[in-house]
Every structure is written in structure tokens, then in C-alpha cells.
């Protein structure tokens, strides 16, 4: 099965912030990502768009090595991810953690500095200042000492973003930062993304809202298990592409996956 890859960057640049080659990921033999190839040029703001279960979050997780991939490779600025961890800040979905954990907003942001500190490294004034600065950038410095369980959803998301900021990465991977946040927080996040972009950073964001996607991102990746289209927002956001992404399900892939699972089951004693 050959996939049609519409990528505006034809030549793979050696030091592109993110370059994904033929990634395939499956959970229990059901394909979640199928032969995805993608190049993200520097200083761009990329929206990763597709229906539920299209593998958007899985793509981010596969990039940072959190889910095993069946095939394919990932390059971060031309290197393998584990050689270039400090260049990447990954922001998980807000619901992925227990917000009842005994910590203040400042504690959570400080966790972003642990990677640079390394094993046995102690938090010093420098890290604390960096954390305060990040909180200030997200406009929640006054909440630094507040328990994370006492924060609103939007404030929790801002805390997560602040934690990504102190990582001082060059590539930001954000999993649904706009999910269930208030309008003010959404604005604050977009603003901080624009600031990062103008500082030459690259941001890849899993996003749901088609209307705002056009406005927020200068590049769009349409994903539905396989890559539908990737490129400049204006080029990619066509009716045809959206129809392909949201219209028919990928029945063939699903049927093949189901068939394989059935075969496995009947073969097992």
C-alpha cells in the first residue's frame, strides 16, 4: 500500500527541526499511524489536524520515543531524538497527570529545568528565577505558590506551557494545549507561540478546531492514520483535503487490521 505524500518540502533538509520518515505505529496490530513522512521547516508554527483517533497524539509520542514504532525514523535537527533531547520540549495533554499531586505551580514549572540539571543536580536560584520568569510570560506569576489542584483548567494549561518555556527548547511539541481552556488562556498561548516563533523556534501543535487552525498556524498537517496533506495553510486547507481527512474512514486499513487480529486470535490455541 502506497501512500500519497503531499509535502511542500520535497528535499529533506539535514538540519530541519523535525523530520519524520515512514513512521508506522500500531497498538495491538491495529494501525494508528501508517507510513507517515513529514518535514517541518524551522521557525514555523504547525497545526496537526485530524479527526479523533487519527493518530495526532500518537505521532507526537512516537517522535519523543514514548510509543514504540514498527518502522520509520525521526530526526531532530538532523540527529536522533535521544541525542538531542534538550532541543525538544514536549507538552503532554493536561489530563495526563493527576492535578491533586502535592505541588505548587512553581514546583511544576521547575520540573522543566530538571532535564538541564541532570542527575543529582540541585535546584538553585537560577532555576527558580527562570521558573518565575516563565510564569510571568504566561501571566500567572501571582499564582506561583498556589496548589496546582486549586488552579483552573486554563491556569493549569498555562503552568504546563510555562514548564515548556523553561526547558529553553528549539522545538515545541504540544498535545492539545487549547483543549477546554478559556478564551483568555487561548489568546495567551497563541501569543506565546508567536513570540517563540519570532525567536526562531518551531512549534508543532495538536489542534481540533478547524476555524481557528486557519488563523493560528502558518503550516498545517492533515492526518488521518496516514498523512493526507502537509504544507502552507493556504495550500493545504482545501475542501478536497478536508474531505479526505474527515470524510470517509480508512476502511481498507481498518479491515486489514481487523482481519489480522482475527487471524491472530483463531491461530492462538
Amino acid at each position: 500500500m502506497k501512500t500519497t505524500v503531499v509535502s511542500s518540502v520535497v528535499k529533506m533538509s539535514a538540519d530541519a527541526p523535525l523530520s519524520v520518515r515512514d513512521i508506522t505505529v500500531a497498538y495491538h496490530r491495529k494501525p494508528v499511524l501508517w507510513n507517515v513522512t513529514l518535514d517541518v521547516p524551522g521557525a514555523s508554527m504547525v497545526g496537526l489536524v485530524g479527526p479523533n483517533g487519527a493518530g495526532k497524539s500518537t505521532l507526537l509520542k512516537a517522535i519523543v520515543g514514548m510509543v514504540p514504532r514498527i518502522s520509520g525514523e525521526v530526526r531532530i535537527f538532523g540527529k536522533e531524538y535521544h541525542h538531542h533531547r534538550s532541543a525538544v520540549a514536549y507538552v503532554p495533554q493536561r489530563e495526563s497527570v493527576d492535578w491533586d499531586f502535592p505541588a505548587t505551580a512553581l514546583d511544576v514549572v521547575m520540573m522543566g529545568t530538571y532535564g538541564q540539571l541532570g542527575w543529582f543536580g540541585r535546584v538553585t536560584k537560577k532555576e527558580r528565577q527562570a521558573a518565575h520568569e516563565a510564569l510571568r510570560q504566561m501571566e500567572i506569576e501571582h499564582l506561583a505558590e498556589r496548589q496546582i489542584s486549586q488552579l483552573s483548567g486554563g491556569q493549569q494549561q498555562r503552568t504546563f506551557l510555562a514548564r515548556a518555556l523553561v526547558q529553553q527548547a528549539d522545538l515545541y511539541l504540544m498535545d492539545e494545549p487549547f483543549a477546554a481552556v478559556d478564551a483568555a488562556t487561548e489568546n495567551a498561548i497563541v501569543n506565546i507561540m508567536r513570540t517563540l516563533q519570532s525567536a526562531g523556534k518551531t512549534i508543532v501543535v495538536v489542534h481540533h478546531d478547524l476555524h481557528t487552525a486557519r488563523e493560528y498556524f502558518d503550516r498545517i498537517v492533515l492526518l488521518n492514520t496516514r498523512l493526507i496533506a502537509a504544507g502552507k495553510t493556504a495550500d493545504v486547507f482545501t475542501d478536497e483535503n478536508l474531505q479526505k481527512t474527515y470524510g470517509g474512514k480508512l476502511t481498507l486499513l481498518e479491515e486489514v487490521g481487523d482481519a489480522m487480529r482475527r487471524r491472530d486470535r483463531s491461530n492462538s490455541p
Partner: protein, 484 residues
Amino acid sequence: MNFVAVTLEFIAGQTAAVPLIPRSWAWRVLTLSDYNTRVVLYGTTLLGIAAGLLGVYMLLRKRALLGDAISHATLPGVAATYLWSVSAGYEKSLALLLIGAAISGGLGGLTVLALRHVAKLREDAALGIVLSVFFGAGVALVGIVQQDSGGNAAGLEGFIYGKAAAMTAEDAWLSGGAALLVMLIVWAIGKELQILCFDSELARSQGLPVLLLDTLLIALVVGVTIVGLQAVGLILVIALLVIPAAAARFWSDSLKQILVVSACIGGASCSIGTLTSATFAKLPSGATIVLVACGGFAVSLVFGSARGIVWQGLRHRRMRDQQDFQHFLRFAYEYLESQNNAGPFIKPGSVPIALSHLIHSRTWSAHRVLAVGQQLQKLDMVVMRPDDCIELTKRGWLAARRIVREHRLLEMYLLRETDVDLGQADRDADYLEHGLMPEHLMDLDEAMRAESLFDVPASPHPLLPETVASDLPSRVLPEQGKTA
């Protein structure tokens, strides 16, 4: 290990002189003049500290029950080692038995991880399988031991139910070593453990070896468990890992403080439990320790300063009082405003406000109004007068002005941003204003473009229901209440 025993005795200060007055056993226990009691006390207390620290991380990692599976999994190791050492002709050696326990306990822990990661089994299923299968195997092996060697095997039962009194100086040192090791590890890689427990996805994306850290935690649990086998037994050792940590959560919202409190609760329950069981000869040590820890948990649940029931109740009550204060003061201010007196600060006492107005405008009982008024008087915000009237003090007037301002801003904001009508906006603001945090006020000021921090905007609706003071009965309050 003679040296160890001598050192311990030296540290504890030996009472060589025979006391003039013969003392009871309980007295000897409680004053620690008995050498054995001292050894057992030190041993169990250090164990409690180690388990308390470790338990916090196990609880936060949501793996509290893993300790239970591990402790049950130590039994086959103990029994198999015993069988082996007997058949090989060795003498029964505690160290060997504990090594056997550690190996099978560790195996049990790793089996849980393997069932989860390789067989993709749910955690509860994996725990259930490991716990029951390993314990079952252990029970079977103990049965064989009993057939083979009869009474000699009774020693093994001490591992199941615990027998702290049998602790030797070596065991105490082992406990101390375990406690020191756990403290050292928490001190050295506390931040790695914190990130692992809070956000394992971030930990993994930052390159922390999540599986290795989890394995380390399991190894520490195995260590604490085999030390605890002697004191509380394998069935109850889980209590030391779970109860102090769970209790500590009621006292603080800071991880560091929780660690300290949990270690203290663990150490205290073990020492109190040990002393109690040593004083009353028939009390088994393990069960006593667990019951004392449970008492500590109950106390924390009720009186804990962060999440205890009492404090939450008090906080709730204080919040309700605060609401009533705010309503009371707002009413007083609005009354003055309606009398066209609120502009610049009026001289205290110059305008009295009849309490009957307050009762009429809010659905308050006379009793409640009086109580709130008296509380506010204690805060130096109002002065209660003998004629069922109040006066605002300067302090009360300033507070009232701030409250009214916040209420009006919120009301106007609701009117502008939502499509509620005037009455609904007033009621909503009535409710919402008590939840205003400083940052909300800042936002509100900005949204409403409030001119200055002190200006009170005019109310968007008429202030007082059209009642004339003379319509109301002049004395609505019970006679006895107002003199307080």
C-alpha cells in the same frame, strides 16, 4: 556481630547498678532500661521511618498495593531457603532466609512489571495474580517444612505475622541501614522521583529511565519488606508503606513536608506500637504497630491541618461567616448611600442603621443578623447600639465600600457579557462575589475600565425595596440578645 551489640549497649548507656526500688516490667519497658526492648525499639522505629518515606512515593506513583504483592511474594523465598539449607546441612540462618525472601520478593515485583508491560495485563489483575500465586506457593512450601521438621518450623510463622521481640541487634542495624539508604536516595534523586510520580510522560521525554526508576522503587520496597518481615510480618508490612503516607497527605500540600510527616508518623507508630506490645505480654507487635498507625491515620483524617475534616469544616464555616459579613456590610453601605450619605466618609456614629431594615432586605433571621452584627463588632467594623441600630466604624465603612464596589463591578460585568436580566445579575453577583480572587478583580477592573481603585460605581438597579422604616415594627429583636 559482638561489636555491634557492645556498641549499641554503649550508646544506650547500660544501667549496671541494681535499682534500689524493684520496678515492674512495664516500668522497665517504658524507661527503656531493658536492653532487648531498646534494640527492638530502635529497629522498628527506623523501619517505620524508611517505610514512611518510601510509602509517599509509592502512593503518589499509584503503586501502593505493589508493596503488598511484594511482601506476600517473600514467603516462598523464605520457605525454599529454609528447605534448602536444612537439606544441605546448614544451620538455620536468618541472613540466608532474608536473602531468600529478597530474591523471591524481587521476583514477585518484577513479575508484576512484566505482566503489565509484556502481557499488557491491567495492574490490578497483575497484582492479584502475583500476590496469590506467590503466597500460595509459600504456604505450600511452609506445609512441606512443617511435615519434614515439625516444631522446628515454627520460626517461619514469625515471618508471616511478625515477631518484633525476636529482633536482635543485627536486625536493628539492618533497619538502620535500610532507613539510611532510603533517606539517601530520596535526598539524592528526590527530584527525579518527583517528576516520575507527577508526570511520567515528561520524565520519559526528558530521557529519564522510567523503568529503571520504577525498578529502583521496587527494590527499595523489597528491602524495607524484608526488614519488616521480622517486626510486623509479611501480611501487615503493607500497612507501614501505605498508612503513614496516606495520613501525611492530610497535613500538608507540599511534597517535602509530606515526606517528613510520613516518616514521623511511621517512626512514631512503630515505637509506640513496640512499647505497647512489650508492656502487655500477650499483644503481638505487628498488629499493635498497625493499630497505632491506624490511630495516627484517624487523628490525621480528623485534625490534619491541610485536609482534615475539622479544618475543612472550620474553613467552610469561616467562608459562610465571611459571606454574611459581606452581605451585612454591603447592605449597610447601600442604606447609607440611599440616604445620600456615602460620598466622603461620614463621621462614625452619625447615621444609625436600623437592624430591622437588614432583616427585611435579606432573608435572615433576627438571630442571625444579631450574631453577624456582634461578630462584626468584635472586628471593630460596626458598633451595636442599644436601640436595635448599628453604626459603621471607619474600618467597617472602608470594607463595605470595597465590597460594594466589587459587587457592582461584577453585576455590571454580568449584565454586559451575559444576557441575564437585572435581578438575575444581582443574584448571580451575590453568589459569585465571594469567590473573587485577586486576579479576578484585576481582570474585572480591566474589563470594566474602572477609573480608580476606590470609585464605587452607581448601582444599576434601585437599591432598597420601597419600604419606609415606620412600616416595620420598631423592635424585631429578642430582648436578651442585644446586650451581649
